[in-house]
């Protein structure tokens, strides 16, 4: 039963393009959702969360391609994505804390120094 669910195709076997398309669509949709979130939410933390979501979407696409091509490069790349995401999370959250201390607010709109 589990086999039926899991093994759409056993590992060394090639994955069909149709299946790949599904994964890519999920990836793109998740990316777009992250994007929409980034653009609409005003809480800095949520905005960063949305960027993480976009990372994840990219991860799905990479892993899907890795599976399709039957090599590990895509997954290796996801590890780097994870690294960068972790680094980004650390820095971004530190920044958020820093900014929050300055303005006592998490709103991205509290920062308008770049206004022309």
């Amino acid at each position: 039963m589990l086999d039926l669910f899991l093994a759409q195709s056993a590992f060394p076997q090639a994955m069909g393009q149709g299946v790949l398309a599904h994964y890519l669509f999920v990836s793109a949709a998740m990316f777009t959702l992250g994007l929409v979130g980034f653009l609409t939410r005003r809480n800095l933390i949520i905005m960063f969360l949305c960027t993480e979501m976009m990372f994840q979407a990219a991860g799905i696409a990479l892993v899907a391609f890795s599976r399709y091509h039957l090599n590990y490069d895509g997954q290796t790349f996801v590890i780097f994505v994870l690294t960068v995401a972790a680094a980004e999370a650390a820095l971004a959250l530190a920044l958020v804390v820093f900014l929050f201390r300055k303005r006592d607010s998490l709103s991205a709109e509290a920062w308008l120094e770049m206004k022309g």
Binding site: L4, F5, L6, Q8, S9, F11, P12, A14, G18, V19, A21, H22, Y23, L24, F25, V26, A28, A29, M30, F31, T32, L33, G34, L35, V36, G37, L39, T40, R41, N43, I45, L49, C50, M53, Q56, G59, V63, S66, R67, N71, Y72, Q75, T76, V78, I79, L82, A85, A86, A87, A89, A90, L91, L93, A94, V96, V97, F98, K102, S105, A108
Partner: protein
């Protein structure tokens, strides 16, 4: 442009999805999360149906039903992340989406990545997020009756954002769906050779497997794996020093973790170093940035110095 999904269907589905997402964004007056979610799900469903149809008519492969479940969970929780007014819930939904994604990774036979994702993302990063959310929101809550900040309660320009984002999505999907068929299928020989190269570097594993299968005797050592007459064979050295070849049985295969490990550490050792440096720098940066009162001290110092200087000059003049 030849697409695997009819463009009309694609754009319709995306439009429906867009409307749904736009609806579910928090607004000042209302938030139609549920309605929006349903509409968005309709759009996604429409497209997945279309995709499934084209996949069936194409190479006839279809993702397993588990995929559909996980995809719905992932996308749904993502929608919640971006629409939920309370950051804590958003973070929690994000964890849910991570879990669903990890499931998708397993479906893609990337077990290592699935677990790494759960550990790193759900276990480490998101927890940090939760901490920060709580840390940063605490003082905010005191002033606010409802406990909900205005910037959390109201989304910014949902229509513009959705239109721009879905336009990008449309562009991306068009590219993906029209270009997908040009992606070549993996070359079986090359894949096999790569696998053999990995096995070649894992003589112990091969030896164990062969011993378990009883294909070699104890005392014999596997020195390598290479291809012979189109079949993957293990090169076995006997006790006397003589070598022979043993065809590898089906059960001897490279696991995901092994393959990934060799790929990562064998093919990209430099980059892993760089990744380490990035993490180190991020750590240092985070420490520097988050150091409390550093900036305030500087400012205070400058102000105090200015005040002192002014006082001394006026004082000096007064004396003169």
């Amino acid at each position: 442009m030849d697409m695997i999904v009819h463009p009309a269907l694609l754009f319709l589905a995306l439009a429906i999805g867009g409307v749904g997402v736009a609806l579910s964004i928090p607004r000042r007056r209302f938030q139609a999360s549920l309605v929006g979610g349903i509409i968005a799900a309709t759009g996604v469903g429409l497209l997945i149906v279309g995709l499934g149809g084209s996949a069936l008519s194409g190479d006839g492969t279809l993702p397993s039903p588990v995929f559909h479940v996980l995809a719905i969970i992932a996308l749904g929780s993502c929608l919640q992340v971006i629409t939920h007014r309370r950051p804590v819930y958003a973070a929690l939904y994000f964890i849910l989406s991570i879990l669903a994604t990890a499931g998708l990774y397993i479906l893609l036979a990337a077990e290592f990545m699935a677990f790494a994702l759960v550990i790193i993302y759900a276990g480490a990063i998101l927890i940090t997020y939760l901490f920060v959310i709580m840390l940063a929101s605490q003082s905010q809550v005191e002033g606010q009756e409802e406990g909900l900040a205005e910037y959390d309660a109201v989304g910014r320009g949902p229509i513009t954002a959705t239109v721009a984002s879905f336009a990008l999505l449309a562009a991306l999907t068009v590219l993906v769906f029209s270009g997908l068929k040009d992606i070549p299928a993996p070359d079986a020989a090359r894949v096999a050779a790569a696998e053999m190269a990995v096995l070649d570097r894992l003589p112990g594993k091969v030896e164990k497997a062969l011993a378990r299968e009883g294909l070699i005797e104890s005392g014999e050592i596997v020195v390598g794996v290479e291809e012979a007459q189109g079949v993957a064979t293990a090169v076995v050295r006997g006790i006397g020093g003589g070598q022979r070849r043993v065809a590898l049985p089906e059960s001897v295969s490279v696991t995901n973790t092994e393959g990934l490990a060799f790929n990562l550490l064998g093919d990209y050792p430099g980059t892993i170093e760089i990744a380490g440096v990035i993490l180190l720098m991020a750590m240092l940066g985070a420490v520097v940035l988050a150091r409390k009162f550093a900036q305030i001290d500087e400012e205070a110092k400058a102000a105090a110095a200015a005040a002192l200087a002014e006082g001394s000059t006026t004082g000096g003049q007064g004396h003169a």
